[in-house]
Amino acid sequence: MNSPMTVDFSPGATDLARGLIASLARSFRIAEHDRADITIVDGSTGWATRALAAIDAGAARLFIMEPVLDDIQALRNLTDRIDRTKTQVVVSEGYADNPALSGFRQSLTHDFRVVVLRGWGEYTLRTLVLMQVRILRAIGVHAVELVDVLAGTDAALVTAQGQLIHGKTVLRLGATRTSGVPAQQILVAHAGDASARIDLFEGVTARPAQANLVTAAGRHSLPTVYESAHRARLRQLAEGQTHGLAGGVLQFVDDAEWVMSLFR
């Protein structure tokens, strides 16, 4: 058996991260006097600057937990630094790394021509839309092009076009800022003869996503997975899988730049 990877935390990393490490005791342990294999960086606003500081301090590998849409210049500085130092940086996103998305993606075998995402939470609109774009990445959508955006102060509706398995897909992303209800993202994909839906909850808990596929044969529920996105991502990291469903940090920064361009 391999010895556990050692972990330390950048300033601001939460107790949640410590709890996750404790739940994977054979794979990880908190570094004491030894050098950490992984530095966990809290993904709240300013995370790119914190990540830069961690790299400058000699961090070998970063694990960015729940990154929001941060300052673009700071993100660009980070990607430059990653490129120069070859530091391995893993992003862990509550929605896009939900372990249920892997099975959901595999179930998308019909000709889905429209994908609708509705989401809400106590984030900025930019972060809510970025979360949605990252979910789209996780189900295999690529070549995303903006068609229209309507952005108010607290709600936005983005129409875009992308490629998903069989061809062009219309994408509708509706995001609303609210503190009235728990954060959630609901994705529904429509084909002429099928629909697929996944309800995703925030990644800090193991509350499972609910996913189903409706075809002429009936409604098929996908297995529930009682594991949080961040724990699943840490396990992938322990197993040497550093590329997530939604891609790596460079793809994340590309998507962040795309989202920022919507709100100019």
Partner: protein, 353 residues
């Protein structure tokens, strides 16, 4: 037991004349009126297709009028259901009011043009006719509960989403009724994207647009920023009104699972209503109100909005409820018309189709 005891005293019942004998009448209004036979009696049916109206009238033991004038001249008829194509609603409503009918139930959309709506509203005000709009979602118990909750609690929407996913109508027709006569109607006209969008808004989105308007700030004016038709049929429409982002979406596809939801999300609360499809008599919608750790669910009821709109008409005629505010219907129509026209203009001006 006497017949009058079984079905209510004949004198107490509202005698109804029906203009139009198409699918909506056969699948929706006739079953509802038969369920409410204590309150209503269908006396006469008229349709431009005389064979169709004769078949329906025979089924109901009612008279088949040979003309609109004949139906309207029947003095025993208290209320007229106007279920003809929308382009004829104004003509038929005005004629019914001129004939002295006390109440009209007009299927949505109220008319074909803004000028017609003004004319109908003006005559309703002048004659004191009770004008009930066939906006069944407005009468659905789920919406009524949502309205009650909004009166008690606070929801200032930031976004509103109307989301309709339906199999083609034929499937529901088969589940809901047996047509008295099935005819293949010619559909030879060449549909443009704009004309399809107008139909989509005024015949599908119109179910929810009056509710959307009531969730918005008073007199909010819609501004459509994006419209697109979807294949095989449907629409995706983006609009803003009163600072609220509106997402209107419909997809007609060939699988079996319908969903019909209206969702409004504000800073502190969220309202979700799930409606049953129109044609099937599957009871009311379900409303869910969520705010800060609290969820209030309104269970479904046996009666849907159609049943309640007819009951409302009867209560108005008996003086038990006030006459509907015709100006509200005018506002509803203006709102829907503006959405439809702007969506059509968007497509006609080279918007994405």
């Amino acid at each position: 037991m006497s017949k009058s005891t079984q079905h209510g005293a004949a004198a107490d019942r509202v005698n109804v004349g029906i203009i139009g004998a198409g699918l909506v009448v056969q699948s929706i209004h006739i079953p509802v009126l038969q369920r409410l036979s204590d309150t209503f009696a269908v006396r006469c049916v008229w349709d431009v297709d005389h064979e169709r109206s004769a078949a329906l009238a025979a089924q109901l033991h009612a008279a088949a009028a040979s003309s609109l004038e004949q139906l309207l001249s029947d003095e025993s008829i208290d209320a007229v259901a106007i279920c003809s194509p929308a382009a004829f609603h104004a003509e038929h409503a005005l004629a019914a009011m001129r004939a002295g009918k006390r109440a009209l139930l007009v299927e949505k959309p109220l008319c074909g043009t803004l000028a017609e709506v003004e004319a109908v509203a003006a005559m309703a005000a002048e004659t004191g006719t009770a004008l009930v709009m066939g906006s069944m979602h407005l009468y659905d118990p789920a919406w009524r509960e949502a309205t009650r909750l909004r009166g008690e609690r606070t929801l200032v929407p930031r976004s509103i989403s109307s989301n309709i996913v339906l199999p083609p109508n034929a499937r529901f027709e088969q589940w809901a009724f047996e047509a008295s006569e099935q005819k293949k109607h010619a559909t030879g006209s060449a549909w443009t994207a704009a004309s399809l969008m107008r139909i989509a808004i005024m015949e599908l989105a119109i179910h929810d647009l009056p509710l959307v308007r009531r969730l918005l700030p008073e007199d909010a004016v819609p501004r459509v920023t994006f419209a697109r038709l979807l294949e095989p049929f449907g629409y995706a429409l983006t609009a803003e009104a009163g600072g609220v982002v509106l997402d209107l979406f419909c997809s007609i596809n060939s699988h079996w699972q319908p969903t019909w939801t209206l969702e409004a999300t504000g800073a502190n609360a969220q309202l979700q209503i799930s409606f049953t499809p129109s044609f099937v008599h599957a009871g009311s919608g379900v409303a869910t109100w969520r705010e800060r750790g609290l969820t209030i669910d309104k269970d479904p009821e046996r009666d849907n909005g159609y049943v309640h709109e007819w009951r409302h008409l009867a209560h108005v005629l008996k003086g038990e409820e006030p006459r509907p505010d015709v100006h509200e219907f005018r506002r509803d129509y203006r709102f829907a018309f503006a959405v439809a026209e702007q969506a059509c203009e968007f497509l006609a001006s080279g918007g994405v189709q």
